[in-house]
Amino acid sequence: MALHSGDLRRFAWRALRGFPARTLLMLTAMAIGVSAVVLLTALGEGARRYVTGEFASLGTNLLIVFPGRSETAGINPSTMMGETPRDLTLDDAQALLRSHSVRRIAPINVGSADVSRQRRSREVVILGSNQDLLDIRHWEIDQGRFLPSADLTSASPVAVIGDKIRAELFGAERALGEWIRIGDRRFRVIGILGTEGRSIGVDVQETVIIPVASAQQLFNTASLFRILVEAKSRDAIEPAKKFIIDLLQQRHQGERDVTVITQDAVLQTFDRILTALTYAVGGIAAISLAVAGILIMNVMLVAVTQRTAEIGLLKALGATPRQILTLILAEALMLSAIGASAGMALGQLGSYLIRVVFPQLPAQAPGWSLLTALAVAILTGLLFSLLPARRAARLDPVLALTGR
């Protein structure tokens, strides 16, 4: 004797509606569990997309050359600190252009100095570089032009300033063609950067960019902080990397004392870390589903006890043990499905709100997390109802009917 699925659904539905308090309680538990999974994985995924997006905005087919040897291909504290066991020089940078795989390079020097005009003054991050930095980083010029395409070693007194610096030093006045003082030297403003946003910790609008040779004079150094290299294509990245390492080894008396990281490698490392993190928070949130499961078990046990007489009656009317089991499980299935859907909607709504409040963070639960949350929720609901359902199926009808 098999119950019709429509009858089963209707009976389970009526039973759920017959006990609204306990139904709501279980729905809430389930919904909280599922929405926690959805929301937390959405946050993890958002962080992953944010970070990989930041790296992508750094430039395409990018290689970064650091002074100093690092054993791992990724990043470690010494590369981050920019330790300099042996200097990278402008000649090193110039030599890299000999490779067929390299499209352009940008040597970088970084320091901070006081920038002033008339009575206004502030400390600013100064970038020394060349014309190609603009294209490598996909920046845009708002007014004027970028650094001139002169020889790397020519220290012309020109500067390109971020828009915030312009506003602070010049206010509403015209900045282009005016002179500013950086440290103890004078520079003429030839361009203003229009790019918004950040590039690995440096707000583009709050920097001043001068020719790399001028920066070396300003900071009194012959070395470079790093060299940005753009390969001609994605396939050219690896040959370029090999070329750079070999060439610089040659130039540094056979010492392999530079580190070349590719943007891909960094990106993948972050991608891996943040994906693992997303799994981890998703897993932790899934524990709340297990808690919901235990709650469901308890509430279903109470429900079976509450409805002992009803189950006894169904048996007297000819319900088989299997039918009783099916009825209770159908109820649990319906509960978990509704609860999980509600949780899913709640989680998605939460993710949407996060996206509205923090537009930089693309919080969106990945597909696998939605599917897993749904499956785990329904499975938990069924699994934890098995015990109460079997207890109901085994009830002695005489005892059940007399309430003994």
């Binding site: 004797m1 098999a2 119950l3 019709h4 429509g6 009858d7 009976f11 009526r14 039973a15 509606r17 017959g18 007489a309 009803e310 006894g312 009656l313 169904l314 048996k315 007297a316 009317l317 000819g318 319900a319 088989t320 043990p321 299997r322 039918q323 009808p397 005489v398 009917l401 007399t402």
Partner: protein, 226 residues
């Protein structure tokens, strides 16, 4: 036909064995009208539950329409209950969240009958008990007598051979009790075997065959045919 021979049913209560039924042998013909009376605790309900396959005897054999039903599995017993036996209880036992019609429909639903076949049977059963205009009411919107009529409609909707009633008027006033008895007797006149436990001697006397139980045993009958 119901054939019980040397049926025992004992319960272990603490270290004591209670014999609710003690060597009961009984034959009830099809279409019979039997009342069972006796003092409280004498085993009347236990006997009725055994006949209705809600309980299994500790010893003895039970044949229903020639078939040994004590040997059946739980599943098979459930099917026999569904098809051949109707129950009417003192406490009505209607499901409170379902309407009268839905309560009556339950045995058919459990039998796996499709909805469109069920409706005419449910309507007919309710009409027979003059409950058609109450079919959409829930139990808490019905009087005791009306509830028992819904319960009877539910018991007979599958057109069983045997109707078992355990103190069906125990929770009713005299007037609605008498109405329920007359309904049961009408059903019996149409061929159903009616076995009714009652404490009311007047109602018990109406049965063609009267059984008396004392201490788990059948002790002689008023019509002398036990």
């Amino acid at each position: 036909m119901i054939e019980l021979s040397h049926i025992r049913r004992s319960f272990q209560v603490g270290d004591q064995l209670v014999h609710a039924l003690d060597d009961v042998s009984l034959v009830i013909e099809e279409g019979a009208y039997v009342s069972i009376m006796g003092p409280s605790g004498s085993g009347k309900s236990t006997l009725l539950n055994l006949i209705g396959l809600l309980d299994r005897p500790s010893a003895g054999s039970y044949r229903l329409n020639g078939q040994d039903v004590t040997a059946l599995s739980d599943y098979e017993q459930a099917q026999v209950r569904n098809r051949s036996i109707g129950f009417v209880f003192q406490m009505f036992h209607l499901i409170p969240r379902l309407t009268a019609a839905e309560n009556v429909e339950l045995p058919l639903l459990l039998a796996g009958m499709p909805p469109e076949q069920r409706r005419p049977l449910v309507d007919a059963a309710l009409a027979e008990l003059q409950m058609t205009d109450r079919s959409r009411h829930r139990p808490d919107q019905l009087s005791g007598g009306q509830r028992q009529r819904v319960a009877i409609a539910r018991a007979v909707v599958t057109q069983p051979k045997v109707l078992l009633a355990d103190e069906p008027t125990g929770n009713l006033d005299q007037h609605s009790g008498a109405a329920v008895i007359s309904i049961l007797e009408t059903l019996n006149r149409r061929g159903i075997t009616l076995i009714m436990v009652t404490h009311d001697p007047e109602m018990g006397r109406r049965a063609r065959r009267r059984l008396r139980m004392v201490d788990g045993r059948l002790s002689g009958t008023a019509d002398g045919t036990a």
